[in-house]
Symmetry: none
Subunit: 428 residues, 2 copies
């Protein structure tokens, strides 16, 4: 089964609202093994709606339509669907009763426009909406199923799960399953990962097994898809590719859980190793600590941090000698190492991690350009500094620096030799 | 001028990524008086891309295409645009040089697929991308302008603002104008702002003047629209409404600049008052300092912060007596005040701000439920604590707490009596 999504509303088109409905529906349909073809947003224009319904029908067995079902004059979805399917509006009594009862319960008088919500095309099957006043509608036009749902996300999701999916499942029957496997990586670029590390895998992309590279802020997630008559069969098909990737690029993979991120994976590693960490931050301004504490329960492995944004505070709070700042500068191997050591010491943590760099957009020199960052790592077993060169954008540099710091610790604690983006390491 | 947006990528279609690019572009084009017709997402399929390019051309003078420009095999936008416009791929030397130089600078070998990024159709004008390796492209096909941009949001936005808009402005000329005025508020909910503070304004919504409430993480932005033959005429029409809103809700408005946020507005206030700040964080884990340092030049007003996530560190690093922690707890007025005072003292800052609360999802009690946060404010002139009750979600609680801390300081430094969300204040 192939599906398109048609979201209706000027507010979506002009970006006043971000189209999270389309993303949710895309995920929902894909997880239910329905192939997504296209997702279209149009304004409250009958001509545009009709045109896209016709055009999407040519490539889709199913069109999910959301939005434009409100009681105001600019909501035209219902009238458009009535005329598109050759029907006329009639009153749906259960919906009318539900609306009246609800308004009575809240002690608010029912207005005529509220009652208009109970009008539906006589060509549809009503999908009763217990979460709001606009009912869902199910049409069959030629070979295509058209489903119209309210644009309010909670109502749309409720109807999709409770009303639409059971009816779809009936139509699809049970023929086969789609298996997905995710490999989340950090500290490696998409092209390095694909060309240099994983290499040619055309011989492994057989029997319907596919591999996609999805770039995220934390790095690149690889998604392997396969299909089969059973979950076991689909799973078995991915095994050779999975083993190849783990062997070639295992050091970059921080998680194979479906829904995961680097701070959570780092937290699990710290829990497993029973270690605690503290951060001495400069260019990240607190972001590294914030990322660590995004994870529930992080008080078990995170003690705290000292952000010394000013040089004087590097001396006063983190004991970086003025002579070191004078000789090597705040953005240097020496400063990074002392910051890491001192924060570990002062907070009684197993690991001290530090960041000091030039976030930009200004403040760079030829010798120390914008985007240059030094990291310090200090534990009882190992002390080292690492140098990285990021870009011009301040927010991106902060984000990258915080994530690279987490990945650096992950690698150091997992005895992985290579560092994020193969950055050079200076052991002391 | 009428525009459509075509976003390309399976990851968008199946909802792995939410399509924020389409929303940003919709807003950008609307603000620049270009009418949005349609926004379409298709997967990495040449047939779908070509079909939608043809179909959108019929109703659009401009099509903005994003995504599918990466170096891997599933990125097919460039080849598709080359064949659609009757061109062939050639190397763009400045882009190649830029790529090589960038990889050299970072000490990473250039892979063949990186160099493929410098290939462009000979039918396009290259929009040079200083923020990444994939260049933007400008085509004219029959009567329609096609603009292809990378899918990475920061690169897309940069090219749109710096390269695409100047070229579009040339084409459009000026006939009539749409004026927009933004009022960014913090520390007030949408319904309180609209119903209780601003009240009935129907008599001011005349002559085509409209008011929209746009909720953001920082609070609510109000957008006033009006049209006229000239910018002056459109502007003049909004004056009565603007004056009414400023009079009724002025204390919540932190900025009236088009593109702004609370950290930047706070930074301007600090610069204007020549003040410095330091943060003592607990439940925000570093996020408050990170938000402050998102602003370029923040080293002028931000000295640093101490995050004492563990109680022992509140004593050791911030001198909160064990007896205070025992008697009142870490989440208390007393602890918040000492944290604020101590961080100001230790960092030599004019203002100390503190956050201590229960971020959740666990750790709450009947007396101190999840979402409870105490703030401390300490300056030479004024010391006070403030209590707020947020919700159950950890990430939202951290975000809200950091933003309320900024708004609290904005109000205190601007002699505004009311606090964010009318939270209770305890002066000492």
């Amino acid at each position: 089964m192939r599906a398109s999504i048609l979201t209706i509303g000027n507010e979506l088109l002009i970006g006043d609202i971000i189209n999270t409905n389309a993303a949710w529906l895309g995920t929902f349909l894909t997880l239910h093994h329905i192939e997504m073809v296209r997702s279209v947003t149009v304004g409250d224009s009958e001509a545009e709606i009709v045109h896209m319904l016709k055009d999407c029908s040519k490539v889709s067995d199913l069109i999910i339509i959301t939005g434009g079902l409100g009681p105001t004059h600019d909501d035209i979805t219902k009238h458009t669907l009535a005329s598109f399917t050759g029907g006329k509006l009639i009153e749906h009594t259960p919906t009318r009763d539900f609306i009246v009862k609800n308004f009575e319960k809240r002690g608010i008088p029912v207005s005529p426009s509220n009652l208009l919500q109970a009008q539906v095309p006589d060509t549809c099957e009503v999908l009763f909406n217990t979460h709001g006043t606009a009912p869902g509608m199910w049409f069959k036009k030629d070979d295509t199923i058209l489903v119209s749902l309210p644009g309010v996300p909670s109502e749309m999701k409720h109807l999709m799960e409770k009303e639409v999916w059971p009816k779809l499942a009936e139509q699809i029957g049970a023929n086969g399953t789609l298996y997905r496997h995710y490999l989340h990586t950090a500290g490696v670029g998409e092209s390095t990962l694909s060309d240099l590390e994983i290499g040619d895998i055309s011989h492994l992309l057989v029997n319907g097994v596919t591999l996609a590279f999805l770039p995220h802020t934390h790095g690149v997630t690889m998604r392997i898809n396969s299909t089969g008559k059973s979950d076991e069969e689909a799973r078995a098909k991915t095994k050779p590719l999975l083993e190849h990737i783990r062997k070639k690029a295992g050091q970059h993979i921080f998680s194979e859980l479906y829904d995961d991120d680097l701070p959570r994976a780092f937290g699990r590693l710290m829990t497993e190793k029973k270690l605690t960490v503290a951060a001495a931050e400069s260019c990240t301004g607190g972001l590294l600590g914030s990322k660590i504490t995004d994870v529930p329960g992080s008080s078990r492995w995170y003690n705290g941090s000292i952000t010394a944004y000013q040089n004087e505070l590097k001396t006063k709070l983190l004991n970086v000698p003025e002579s070191v700042l004078k000789a090597h500068g705040a953005v240097s191997k020496e400063t990074a190492l002392i910051m890491a050591r001192e924060v570990a010491k002062q907070t009684g943590s197993d690991i001290g991690i530090s960041t000091t760099g030039i976030a930009g957009p200004d403040g760079g020199t030829d010798e120390k350009p914008v985007g240059l960052v030094w990291f310090g790592f200090w534990s009882a077993e190992r002390h080292f500094a690492m140098k990285a060169q990021f870009f011009k954008n301040r927010i991106t540099n902060k984000e990258r620096t915080a994530l690279v710091a987490l990945d650096l610790m992950r690698r150091a604690l997992s005895d992985i030799e290579s560092m994020p983006y193969n950055a050079p390491v200076f052991n002391v």
